[in-house]
Each structure stands twice: as C-alpha cells, then as structure tokens.
Amino acid sequence: MDGTQDSRGQRAVEKFVPKAERPPPMPVSGAIPWMRRNLFSTVVDSIVTIVVSGMLGVVIWNIVEWGIVDAVWTADNRRECMDQSMDGACWAGPALWFDNFIYGLYPETERWRVNLGAVVLALWLAPLFFARVTAKIPTAASVVLTYPLFASYLFYGGEKGIFWTAISALGLTMFIMALANAALELSGGRSIGKVMEDRFGLTSFRRKAIPVIVLWIAVAVVWSGVELEIVRTVKWGGLFVTLVISGIGITFALPAGIMLALGRRSRLPLIKYVCVVFIEVFRSVPLITVLFMATTMVPLFLPEGVTFDKLLRAIVAVCLFAAAYMAEVVRGGLQSVPKGQPEAAAALGLDYWRTTSLIVMPQALKLMIPNILSNFIGLFKDTTLVAIIGLFDLLGMVKAMSNDTNWIGLVDEPYLIAAFIYFCGCFAMSRYAKSLEQRLSTERR
C-alpha cells in the first residue's frame, strides 16, 4: 500500500503504481455527441425531445397518409374522388384546374402570350445577375420603364393604331438592345455604349440615339404587321394577375415612393405637408378600404363615358397604397445616409437635385434593397385582397374552384396548392433579400 506507514513509523519506499487511466474525453463531433448536446442535454430536455418528436411523428404520418397514401390523383369530379377514397386528399381537382390557377380564364389558345411575356421578362432581367455585365442600371431602367409598354399589348392585344404600335415597339427595341448588350458583354467584355463609341465613333448621347431610333422604326414596321386577338381583362386571372398587379404596384411604388420621401423631407411646407398627409393616410388605413374606395368612389370622379376597368381600379389602389409604404422605406434609407455626405456635396457646389441623385440616393437605395424586397413580398401577399372585390387572382381562382359544380366543397386541397405557390415565391424572395443584406453589409464595412 503506497502512502501508508509501516510499524516503525517510517515511510516505506513508495512503489510507483500508475492510476487507472481516465476515460477518453467525450467526442465533440459526430452524430451522437451532437444529439447529446442539442437534444438530450438535461433530463427535462430529453423528455421534451421524446414527447415532441412522438407528436411530430404522428402529425407527419397523418399528413402523409392523407396527402399521399390515401390520396386520389385522377378523377373527373369530387364524387369520383370520394368513391375511390373517403378520407384521402383529392389532388385530381387541383391538377385539372392547375392551368386555371396560373392563367385564370385566359383563352387556352392565347396562353402562349403570357408565357412569352414571362420568358421575355426573365431574359431581360437575367443580365442583372451576371457580374460581368456592367450596364446594370440601363438594363434595369429599360425593364422598369419599357417592359410594361410591350407586355400590356402582348397580354391585352386588339387593334394597335400608330401610337400603340410605336409605344409597344419601343419596349421590344429596348429588349433587343438589352439582349445585345448582354451578349456583347458576356463574350467581349464591353458594353454596347462603349462599342458604339470605339467602333463607330458615336461619342455624344445624341449620336448614340440615332441607331437606336433606326432600330425602333424597323421594329415598329415589322411589329405593325402583328395583330393579336383581344383578351379582355375579365378573362385575366390566376397567378398571372397576381404578378401583374404586384409587378405594376412595385414598379410604380419605387419612383413614387422616392418622390414622396423626398417631399416629406423637403423644407417647403406645402410640399412637405401634402406628402405627409398622403403617406400617413394610406399607411393608417387597411388596403381593403382603399380597394373598396377605388371600386365605389372612382366612378363618381370620372367624366361621363369614361369607364375604368375593374382590374385597372384595383391596380390604381394597390399603387397608391404601395407608394405610401415605399415612401417610408425610402425615408429610412435616406436617414441612414450620414449628414456629412449631403454637406460635402453642397460644399462642392452641387445643387439639390445633383446632391440627391448623385450622392444621397445611390447610397440610400443600396441600403434599402433588402427592405424594398421585403416590401415587395408584403405586396405580393396583399394582392390576394383583390379577390374580395371580385377579381380572379390566384386566390380568387382557388375560391372559384371550390364553388365549381364538379368540385364543390373541395376546399383544403386547392388552398394548400395556392399556399404552396405563395410560400415558394415569398420564401425565395425573403432568402434572396437576406443574402443581399449580408452581401451589402459586408461591402459597407
């Protein structure tokens, strides 16, 4: 026994006996330690984990059983669905109606126009996501300003007349320019403006405009031969209308919001108070009251014979509403620009408009991009309200389906499909906003 004393009270020579080895330290990585740390760290924690995962399992199983195992995938009406399976989902209905969810009652033979519009928009916007394309602001501006001109004719159709031909051809021209620019920059690395300068010696803005105008005229001549069948807006519907309303809403809201926000910060009392009143009124009332106002009061304001499309009225209401909200977003961005910036600009002798457009706004807008996107998500969700005033957006089409004679009473399945579509759109945008926010904030540091 080491450490004990022998009978003579002297310490015996201690013999070295190694202690028992300690157990190896707990592994810190791998599945089991992870679970021990995050799921079973205490007794209470373990009980919670077990109970909750049991409940979750039951819920998930029920959903799977209802939605997949017992579900019916092909049937012509609700009765057939119920004959096949009483307590499963009936996906046959939404499957048959899916095209209507997307296009509304847009005639089937004309739906390619909606698709074409979507493709054009996607191609037009695509260069913005390439780092090599430098002419981003002209591209973005051309989309915002001229895509609606082209798309409105594409979707609505009918007789064009000279004016409408010229206007919609301008959109098409700008689309061609943007594509050409993207192609040039992605292959050669120079923007179309630079190429015009270097190759053809078109240095001034006026000279550059000449080939564009020539192209415009050429496009207009070709375009005037095309006449599309008219599709009245009562037939528009589904996700298409949702995107039309929210798209126009956001494109209008941004410039209008900027003007309102600048007006609100103005030193001129009249302008300031007009803007304050507009912003505060529209921000303090619910959107549905604005929509009701547009449907009931606008006809009283218009001169005789002028009628306003129902869709157009809804769009006007959404635009006014969105502008007020955007104004507050912009104001937030303007406030975050340090005061030294406009002061420095003033010291350099820049006037109000130059200071605003060259110094303050670019910095503010960059900071605002995530907020603008989240505002757009809100608008995208809010457009469902137009279903209340009788338009057939995505939600309106879903409601229409559960009132259809073949599918009457089928409520949950179409709503789930719609919820899924909205979720995908909003979630993707919110993720994009988050990643942008991170990217922009690291740039600022």
């Binding site: 919670v48 009332v285 005789e304 469902t384 559960s402």
Partner: protein, 398 residues
C-alpha cells in the same frame, strides 16, 4: 414679347430670381398648390355632377334612418330597426373586440414561439423556425379562408357537436358555445373589490420601488399583491353570496340554446390573425433578445446574479426597449388586418359599413370617409402612445 434680348438690368433681375432658392421654393409650392386646388375642384365638380345625374344625395342625414338589415354578431344590442349610426357603432365594436382578443393571444403565442426559436433544444428551435417561415410566407387572407372554409364549416352539425369541459363547452359548424355568466345583482361589489385591489397593488409596487431607490432595500410585495388581487375579491364574492350563475349551453331541437355563442367567422378570424401575427411577434422577440449583447449576461453573472435574476433584471428590460416599438406596430396591423373578416362575413366595420351599409344607403363618400377616419384615429392614437413610450425610454438611455 419681342425676340430681342430684354434690357440687361431686367434680365439679371430675372436670373437672380431663378437662382434664388427662396423664390424657387415659393414657385414650386405655388405650382403644387395650384395643381392640388385644381384637382380638388375638378373632382368635386365632377362628383357633384355625377351624383346629380344619378339622383344621389350627399350628407350625413342617413345616419339617423333605419338600417333594415340584421348583423350576425354584435356585442351591443342591435336589431334591424336600429339606425345606421348604430350600425357604425356595432362595426367599430366588433372590429375592436376581435382585434383586442387577437392582440392578447398573438402576443402570448408570439413570445412563446420567439423564445422557442432560441431554445437550446434543436428540435424545438427547428419546429418554431419552420412554423414562423411557413406562416409568415403565406397570405393572411388565404389563412383566414382556410380556417373558415377548411376547418370551421366542416365541423359536425349541432346534434353531433364536439363537447368538452364536462359539457360546458360545445363546438359545431354553427358556433363555439361557452357558458355565459349571469349577474344576479351583487356582482358589481366583487368587481369593485378587484379594481380596488389592483389600484392598491400599484401603490404598493410604487412604494416598494421608491424605497428600493432610496435605500437599496427590496421589500417583497408579491404575496401582498396576490392577497389584494385574488383573495380579496374572492372573499367579497363569497360574502355577497355567489352572485354569478352560469348559463350552460344545452341542445334543444336542432340547435343549442343558452350560453354565449361565438360564430365560426369570429373564430376563424381570431385564429388566423393570432397565428399570422404571432410569427411576426416571434421574430421581433427573438431579435430583441439577441440585440442584448452577450457582455450584459456575462457582466451580470460576474456580479453574482443567478440566471433567473439575470433574465429578469438585465436581459428582459433591455430587450423590451427593442421589442415594444415594433410590437405596437404589429398591434396596429392586427386592427387593420381584422378588416379581412369581410371575406368570411365577419361583421366588422368594413363589412357592415363599407359593404352592407354602402349598398343600402349608397352614400359612398360619407361612408368611405368615416371608415378611413376611424382607422386613422386608431392609428394616430397608437402611434402617439408609441412616441410617448419612445421618449421615455430614450431619456433613460443618455
């Protein structure tokens, strides 16, 4: 005017005027004012003309005429023979009632979910995060319609009601039935005792705070508060001879009689508003708690404060400063979003006033204006309260 250049002095005066910011400001304002006046005049005259043509009249006299329609859910007495002004009142009360209940429930649920998102248990945190992402990214109106059309109208009919709480509660496709309290005359004394208890508790809390600030002693007053708020009214209730009785709903024939019936639209609206807003509140709570720096917790621990007191005295007071302003704007959103009840025929202000009354009375301008006025009043009241709060919090800061 001739094409030749004006005399030099005149010209420089003009150019001086152009470059003078004051003059330019006045000019811009004059232009805006002129446009404003013109458009108001134009809209006014156009509206007057249109209304004359259609034989419409203006004015608020319709408020005192009989409405003639029934309202499915009202908190105050209402019958179809009542006037439009009564309808307006019923709508306002319905809006505020549904909003108040949704505000309380959404705050509770939001705080629970927000704290759950910060849970150290991975499963709980993930479930909370999934809940938030899924609910937040789908439109509120869709959720309202799902709750209404997909849940409450698919419940069994009254004869096969789901009953719980030993038959005191019943849920069917027409209503949720709750037992209704009936006052037999002396209940006001209990209410009075309760109010007195609350006021006295405030006094005690204040004195305790002053004492603590003056001397550093922290007297315990929790049990006093409990006595005053719970025991005192309870004793008074017993002494006055149990003045409340409960009217329990009972099935008779095809429907329930008695009790307090809450209609499916109300339930659907409250649930949807609660769940939708709770996700936003959860994010606010989470951000608020995360906004308190880690150093605060560490400093509190190094001073020897245990975890619960750290939370109560250090984290929560600082987090509340970041939580309350956006929380209040969520409350405002609840009031505004309650107007979506119109889609499922919940008789809120928009439904009974902007829809039914507008169709019946036809006074579009008056009705739209009063509705907007109501919402603006609510909004301005809440935002001014918020400003007062912000000012108080900021004073403490520095």
């Amino acid at each position: 005017m001739s094409t030749s250049a004006p005399p030099r002095s005149q010209r420089s005066q003009f150019s001086r005027l152009v470059s003078d910011p004051k003059a330019r400001g006045l000019f811009a304002q004059a232009v805006v004012g002129a446009i404003l006046i013109f458009s108001i005049w134009y809209l006014y005259s156009q509206t007057v003309y249109n209304m004359e043509k259609r034989g419409l009249t203006a004015g608020f006299d319709f408020l005192w005429t009989t409405a003639g329609f029934d309202i499915g859910f009202h908190m105050i007495d209402y019958s179809p023979t009542d006037t439009f002004s009564r309808v307006f009142l019923v709508g306002i009360i319905n809006t505020l009632f549904v909003s108040a209940i949704a505000i309380v429930l959404a705050t509770l649920l939001g705080f629970i979910v927000g704290i759950a998102r910060l849970s150290s248990n991975w499963l709980i945190a993930r479930i909370a995060a999934t809940y938030v992402e899924f609910i937040r990214n789908t439109p509120l109106l869709l959720q309202i319609l799902v709750w209404y059309g997909g849940v409450f109208t698919l419940l069994p009919p009254p004869r096969q009601s789901l009953e719980f709480g030993f038959g005191a509660f019943a849920l069917n496709n027409r209503a949720l039935l709750l037992p209704a309290p009936i006052d037999e005359g002396l209940f006001w004394i209990t209410v009075l005792a309760f109010v007195a208890g609350v006021i006295l508790t405030f006094g005690i809390a204040r004195r305790a705070r002053l004492l603590r600030e003056a001397t550093g002693e922290a007297p315990k007053w929790g049990w006093k508060a409990l006595t005053l708020i719970v025991v005192l009214p309870g004793v008074v209730y017993l002494l006055t001879g149990l003045p409340l009785s409960w009217d329990v709903p009972a099935l008779s024939g095809f429907n329930f009689q008695g009790g307090f019936a809450v209609t499916p639209p109300f339930l659907a609206l409250v649930l949807a508003l609660t769940i939708y807003t709770s996700t936003f509140i959860a994010e606010i709570v989470r951000a608020g708690i995360l906004s308190v720096g880690k150093g605060q917790t560490e400093a509190a621990h190094s001073l020897g404060l245990p975890a619960t007191r750290t939370l109560k005295l250090v984290i929560i007071p600082q987090a509340m400063r970041a939580i309350i302003p956006p929380l209040i704007s969520q409350y405002l959103n609840i009031v505004k979003n309650s107007s979506l009840g119109v889609a499922i025929a919940y008789p809120d202000l928009v439904a009974v006033w902007m829809q039914t009354s507008l169709n019946q009375a036809g006074r579009a301008i008056e009705i739209v204006a009063t509705t907007m006025l109501f919402y603006m009043t609510v909004s301005l009241t809440i935002s001014s309260l918020l400003n007062i709060y912000n000012r108080r919090v900021q004073l403490k800061e520095r």
